[in-house]
């Protein structure tokens, strides 16, 4: 079974994504995607204004502390329209994964066979634990975004994730535009010496590929705690002709030597980690980054720039959309954790947290 037949039997979608098995499957997901656009995304501003008016009328302060956030949850989730909004949001997410699973499962064996066949082929390399299905840590096995099986326990996790990204990002990830933007935002050392770059939590590998395309002379490595993700990312890299090196590895316990990399990227990784793990990851990055090297963290803004409604939204996303670590991440003020670990903060603008991120430097002696 070729990769083309297994993953792209009806051509690629938006340049890079695997195709669903039939036109009917695609029509089902098209409906879910546009229902999200109309019934979720288009509602974000008006429903925020509506919710904040309810909070104001009830005398709830605009403060992100836990007590105020809980008061907002208790108030807003009594409102019939808001109950409807969150019900619709959850139902659309469940239907999306149902449609995707039903479609890809029809050719599951062929896709897995194509992954197997791709392993020995290049450019680039992939390595993972042969016993990956038994070695997944509990904290990383959550069903993030309520993706069935999560990122670690389903062989097709990378395929599901990638298609999910296409839909959740509302087209921003099409043709890998998002990943290319991230590669531009990934900070490089001031001395211009870029021999090795590391991408943490690569998932489908789009950013790792984009980093290699932007820095063709550098050795580019990508790690993910999920074996299915690095297996899929390897296929993605093959399709792109990108020589990247993928390893199944936990970012909190890396096998790389000290002072090994010139630049490290973590794109939307930290909000998927419990804070104790996040602190270990930061310590490990400090170890593997060379003095003068830079670490770019693209993730959601910290609590100090948020109000009650923003924290309410984060808490709801945590509970209903499989994001259990998001609120604690936001409250951890990760830029502070980076400085506590020894980094110097070079840049952080909360309004550009997802586009320019937090950039820190490992001091030179």
């Amino acid at each position: 079974m070729s990769i083309q037949d297994a993953l792209f039997p009806r051509g690629k979608i938006a340049g890079v994504f695997p195709t669903l098995t039939s036109r009917g499957d695609e029509a089902y997901v098209d409906f879910i995607e546009d229902a999200r656009n109309v019934l979720m995304h288009a509602q974000q501003r008006p429903i925020s204004e509506y919710s904040q008016q309810l909070m104001k009328d009830a005398g709830i302060d605009d403060s992100p502390d836990r007590e105020t956030t809980q008061a907002a949850i208790d108030l807003l989730m009594q409102d019939p329209t808001l109950k409807t909004y969150y019900r619709v949001k959850r139902s659309l997410q469940e239907s999306f994964w149902f449609g995707l699973s039903k479609s890809f499962n029809q050719r599951r064996d062929a896709i897995v066979a194509a992954f197997d066949a791709a392993e020995a082929a290049g450019p680039g390399t992939v390595e993972y634990d042969a016993n990956w299905q038994d070695s997944a840590p509990e904290y990383a096995s959550r069903e993030i975004h309520i993706q069935p099986g999560g990122y670690l326990k389903d062989e097709l996790a990378g395929v599901f994730y990638d298609y999910g990204l296409k839909v959740f990002m509302g087209g921003a990830a099409d043709h890998d535009r998002l990943a290319k933007g991230v590669s531009m935002a990934t900070a490089m050392p001031d001395d211009g010496q870029v021999s090795r770059i590391l991408d943490l939590g690569v998932s489908a590998g789009a950013t790792t590929i984009a980093l290699k395309e932007k820095h063709p002379d550098a050795e580019v490595w990508g790690i993910d705690i999920s074996a299915p993700m690095v297996r899929y990312a390897h296929v993605r890299a093959m399709e792109a002709g990108a020589e990247i090196h993928l390893r199944q590895m936990a970012a909190e316990e890396m096998d790389f030597p000290d002072n090994h990399f010139d630049a490290v990227l973590a794109m939307l990784l930290f909000h998927e980690l419990p804070v104790p793990v996040a602190k270990e990851v930061i310590a490990e990055v400090f170890r593997v980054l060379r003095p003068g090297g830079k670490f770019t963290v693209l993730d959601f803004p910290s609590v100090r720039s948020r109000g009650t409604y923003s924290m309410f939204f984060a808490e709801m996303d945590a509970a209903d959309n499989g994001e259990p670590y998001l609120p604690d991440f936001v409250r951890s003020n990760v830029e502070d954790l980076l400085v506590e670990a020894g980094f110097e903060l070079e840049h952080y603008d909360p309004k550009a947290a997802l586009t320019r991120g937090r950039v820190v430097v490992k001091p030179v002696a």
């Binding site: 039997p9 009806r10 051509g11 036109r23 009917g24 029509a27 089902y28 098209d30 409906f31 879910i32 546009d34 229902a35 656009n37 109309v38 019934l39 979720m40 995304h41 288009a42 509602q43 974000q44 501003r45 008006p46 429903i47 509506y50 989730m77 019939p80 329209t81 109950k83 409807t84 909004y85 969150y86 019900r87 619709v88 959850r90 139902s91 659309l92 997410q93 469940e94 239907s95 509990e138 904290y139 069903e143 975004h145 959740f168 990002m169 509302g170 921003a172 419990p274 104790p276 793990v277 270990e280 310590a283 945590a318 509970a319 209903d320 959309n321 499989g322 259990p324 604690d328 997802l354």
Partner: protein, 115 residues
Amino acid sequence: MAKLKEADLAYTNDLPGAERGNPSYFENEVIDHLLGIVLELGAQFWVLRDRQAFLEEQLAAKGVVSAEDLDHGKPSDELLAKLKAERLAMIQQVYGRLYSTYGGDKAAATSAPMS
């Protein structure tokens, strides 16, 4: 740095969202089920509408069409654009009223960067 032990992360099992769960938003969970059902029926209706439109396009172009063509083919870009506009209008017309309390039924469809 001392490595974390399983017990250090045991608290994460109790965090909201750690388990997939099956949340109810209404006191009467039948309302939750009914909203899920009407959304699913909309999706199933749309699958049929899409197939009908694709069938009509194929018949006009070729005269004879196989189920294989309909299952594995791809509508023209023109038809895909027409279907998208029709789909957005249908969703807004059928479901938008759910948000009429605050005027959300008139909100134009947009894409957002993150779910």
